[in-house]
């Protein structure tokens, strides 16, 4: 396992009286896939939002590649190599599927308003590069055939794939996926699982939230379990599957 790229220390978040995340710490190493699971309302999404700087933590800090990122602007994270998807989809509805993903290539481009306005040669190069990167990513998740459709007309399941394509198109080091498989059918799930496992081989790391235990067991190297904002367990899939606390709070007796 590589060196640690994401370090989370004592992260805590309160919303008024609700303690959504309570003192969570863990690390992610290079090339690792880590899953966060836990009952509804356990604080998983809140944890993601703090890691990706969408909301400010009440306490604690996040370091990415050794840098403290909690004080940074959201947009600087992509350049550092961290991207994410959203649980309640945030696709650009007013654009085609292709354009959605092309936006994800931003950090690789140099176009500014003025160069664009005067259509300098660099702009064309940028566009071409962006186009090829985006098509590749769409190919990877299997959306290439629909790349010219308006994103909002895609069925729910495919919109999820679109978000994944947009998150991986810029070759980030770490991708946060919030319930990537929700709403996908089994064959899509298998496909995405394969895509992610392949990317891991190339050195990408993933942190993901998922309720589909089959996927979690298949993909995760390590699982973190949350309940009521607390980390109640951490370990390999095998360990977690057998952990009575986890079974009681989350899995129930029988695993589907």
């Amino acid at each position: 396992m590589g060196k640690s790229i994401l370090e989370i220390d004592d992260l805590t978040k309160r919303f008024g009286g609700i303690l959504a995340v309570n003192d969570i710490s863990f690390n992610i190493n290079e090339g690792e896939i880590v899953a966060v699971i836990g009952p509804n309302g356990a604080g998983k999404t809140t944890l993601f939002n703090m890691i990706s700087n969408v909301i400010m933590p009440t306490q604690g800090e996040v370091r990415f590649k050794g840098e403290k990122i909690s004080a940074r602007k959201i947009h600087t994270l992509a350049k550092l190599g961290m991207t994410r998807t959203f649980q309640n989809l945030l696709i650009f509805e007013n654009m085609s599927v292709l354009e959605n993903v092309m936006l994800g290539t931003h950090i690789k481009l140099n176009t500014t308003i003025l160069t664009a306005g005067f259509r300098l040669p660099s702009v064309k190069k940028d566009e071409e590069m962006s186009f090829y990167m985006a098509s590749e990513a769409l190919e990877l998740v299997g959306l290439k055939s629909r790349m010219y459709e308006r994103a909002e007309t895609l069925p729910y399941g495919l919109q999820k794939l679109l978000e994944i394509a947009r998150a991986i198109v810029s070759n980030p080091t770490l991708v946060l996926l919030d319930e990537p498989m929700a709403g996908l059918n089994d064959s899509e799930k298998n496909k995405i699982t394969q895509v992610i496992l392949n990317m891991r081989k190339k050195g990408y790391s993933f942190l993901f939230i998922e309720h589909d235990m089959r996927v979690v067991m298949e993909m995760a190297d390590r699982i973190i379990v949350m309940d009521f904002g607390n980390k109640i367990a951490e370990g390999s899939p095998e360990e977690i599957q057998k952990d009575p606390k986890v079974i009681q709070a989350y899995l129930g007796e029988e695993v589907f």
Partner: protein, 240 residues
């Protein structure tokens, strides 16, 4: 009780629902299963009146509800729990629930309403502490629970559930499916269920339809389908 004949719905020029016929009996749980984008949500949306069908017939207890607007269909006793939750994000959880019984609010007594809300909180205890929190602040799964609870609040004759298990913890999924069975058993409520979680869906449903590209390609009793090798390989991820 619900009878659909040769239903056609378009999205622009695309024939998303391509002449579908089926029927559902009172007290049945029927599942509709299919890959992403085959038109399941569109079918439920059409039944609930969100999309306007262009051909066919929809009969509820023998009466046509074809092409009625959504708000009138609810009054006929069909309630849809849509995909993507669609809760009222800036209203409190309590108000979300109260609005669930909007169409028969006038007829409902105050204390009955209270007991109904209490019942929902019993089913979904995690909503309890959020009763005055705004719907949109809830976690994904909590919102899903709220959406289902809101659908149940209207005491529908038929409830249409569009992938209710999305975002729910496994333990809750199981609970909800059990609840559906028990509501059916207790009140004779009819359930039409769209699910990606095929195994679970087939387990609780009486019958199921398999949908592909806007058509029903296969149908039958759940226990038959679950043993069908085609289903097993395509939808249950089992290698045969």
């Amino acid at each position: 009780m619900l009878e659909v004949k040769e239903l056609v719905t378009y999205h622009g020029s695309i024939r998303t629902i391509d002449s579908i016929s089926f029927h559902v009996n009172t007290g049945e749980i029927v599942s509709i299963i299919g890959a992403n984008g085959v038109g399941k949500s569109t079918l439920l949306g059409t039944l609930a009146g969100l999309y306007r069908p262009s051909q066919g017939e929809i009969l509820l207890d023998g009466e046509s509800i074809f092409s009625l607007p959504a708000y009138k269909i609810v009054r006929q006793g069909i309630s849809l729990v849509p995909q993507g939750r669609q809760i009222f994000s800036s209203l409190s959880v309590r108000k979300n629930l109260v609005l669930g019984m909007y169409h028969n609010y006038q007829k409902t007594k105050k204390n009955l309403m209270k007991s109904k809300i209490d019942k929902m909180l019993e089913i979904f205890p995690s909503l309890k502490k959020h009763l005055n929190n705004m719907g949109g602040n809830l976690s994904g799964g909590e919102q899903q629970m709220l959406a289902i609870a809101r659908g149940l609040m209207s005491d529908p004759k038929i409830i249409l559930l569009d992938e209710p298990s999305i975002g729910l913890a496994p333990i809750i999924v199981r609970e909800i499916l059990e609840i559906l069975q028990s509501v059916r058993d207790e009140f004779g409520m009819t359930v039409i269920l769209v699910e990606q979680n095929v195994k679970a869906a087939l387990k609780i449903s009486d019958r199921a339809y398999i949908m592909d590209k806007g058509k029903f390609v296969l149908s039958g009793h759940s226990y038959e389908l679950i043993n069908n090798p085609m289903i097993q390989s395509t939808y249950l991820g089992l290698k045969t």
